[in-house]
Amino acid sequence: MNDQHYKRSENFEPDFTNLLKVLRGKIPDRPTLFEFGINDRLIGKLSGQVTEDTSSRLAPFKRLIKSFVNAGYDYATISAWRTNTLSFPKGDIDSKESKSLNSGNMITNRESYDKYYWPDPEKGDYDIYLDLRKLLPERMKLVASSNGGLLENVIDLVGFENLSLMYMLDESLTTDIFNSVGSSLLRFYEIVAPIETIGACIVNDDWGFKNQTMFPPDMMKRWVFPWHKRIVEVIHKAGKPAILHSCGQLKSVMDTVIDDLKYDAKHSFEDQITPVEEAYDQWGERIAILGGIDMDFLARNTITDIQKRCVTMLQKSINRGGYALGSGNSIPDYIPDKNYLAMISTVKMI
């Protein structure tokens, strides 16, 4: 497979209604792809532009959008870190490739909370989302996400182990921190969701470890879920679907995600927790299932095995809908390009 010039097809035209149908639990007109993030090397190869062009405000997005089009997506994801619209300043984090959930904490008590510089979501340049219309093929849309989710940002600010103790020892401070982060994220989605170029929103917030949620469901119900519910409401109010990207073992809270928070789709699955095939059987009639081809599977298997699994998954969903093919999480640079291309090329085999 020529990974330098991959294209879904010469005549491929993105059409967001395909992903929209998936997100509404329906059958798309053609097999549909979904990915949250793709590494820069691959964006370079797919777009034919190896390095990012920063000569103008829109130039980097041109490359990004072209890579999504060539790969065969009906949309491009656009995170707030790309648009510089909202981010919470973090402390010194481990300056290496991986990062501990305990590092970078800036808020440890009431005094540091009061001193923290809280970003103002109103100050972002949201015009960028509308200006990107110039670069999007006619029926292509953007799928917007914030720069980290509620629990993720709170953990980044406080540190996982600190937060584990803080919510038991200082409920008032815990409430204030969640409210500060939650209200900013809510405002971000309130501004972004109604924009014409935005077809759907991803709310990205990792909640689980391998065996269970990071925090007990009672803690999540008190501090995390109410803000998610409000965020989903503002996305729905704008007539757009809301996708939850959340890693880890979430079985104990999936009913809440579907029935109470009312997410339209769930993204992020791991074979060692719940393989996507099982997730589709278990929840697929109540919520759209996105991606799910396990990252370790993608990284370490043969092209034949990858294609076999992807074709089987697409066939499984072909008459029921509510599924788009993609990885279990994202495409970091350690996944061989040929393996990723093997996965996405299976939409042409159905």
Binding site: N102, F209, Y334
Partner: protein
């Protein structure tokens, strides 16, 4: 006497450190593990008995609940805090302040990986289960594991990784440790690893949660001492 030790165990399990601790709300203002341990010492209960049937029993109880998915990491962290607070009272009763242990574990997150929550949990549960833990920290170079094994003869090794990329470093450490000390028992843990990966790289086992590991090791210890 037994009732007091059970109470200490319960306070450790609940993470009630001391009287000032507001959690759990229903025990606000009541004695925690710290005060109850002092009380136990005052009435002459053997510190070893307090350690085994109070503090360790409490950590075992929360570890078992965690293993079954009935408790969460924050519960383990707060329980460990309660245990450590109480341990400070009994430590002076042991020679040179050393608490007797089942053995030593050398623990670390492998090279390239900075994730430490899983490792820290293993440390807490192993300590609570009566093991002396040498924590090498995160992003541990392969040779640091080797040096530590050379420095602590008979120690077992625990390696943690969160990333698919870094878990591959485990194999290199296993090979090197088994080359220099074939008898070293090596256990692995972390999100991307599994029993089949453990078998593949020649480690001695994978455990989904730290309590399962300590239960396995302590069973072995009990069997050895019979």
């Amino acid at each position: 006497m037994t009732e007091l030790l059970q109470k200490i165990a319960k306070m450790v399990e609940l993470g009630k450190i001391d009287r000032n601790m507001p959690f759990p709300p229903e025990l606000k203002g009541k004695d925690g593990a710290s005060e109850l341990t002092l009380k136990a010492l005052e009435i002459g209960i053997d510190p070893q008995d307090i350690l085994n049937n109070g503090l360790t029993a409490g950590m075992n109880a929360i570890g078992e609940k965690f293993s079954k998915g009935e408790a969460f990491i924050p519960n383990m962290l707060i329980a460990a805090k309660a245990m450590h607070a109480a341990m400070e009272h009994i430590r002076p009763y042991f020679s040179e302040g050393d608490i007797p242990s089942h053995g030593t574990m050398i623990l670390g997150t492998v090279r390239g990986d900075l994730h430490d929550i899983g490792k820290n949990l293993v440390k807490m549960i192993m300590t609570g289960g009566g093991w002396n833990v040498i924590d090498l920290g995160t992003d541990v170079e392969n040779k640091e594991f080797v040096n530590a094994v050379n420095d602590h003869k008979g120690a077992i090794v625990g390696m943690s990784a969160l990333l698919t990329t870094t878990m591959l470093n485990m194999e290199l450490v296993v090979k090197e440790l088994h080359r220099i000390r074939p008898e070293t028992m090596i256990f692995i843990g972390g999100a991307p690893v599994s029993q089949s990966f453990s078998d593949e790289i020649g480690a001695d086992g994978y455990f989904r949660d730290p309590y399962s590991l300590v239960r396995y090791l302590n069973k072995d210890k009990l069997r050895d001492s019979q």
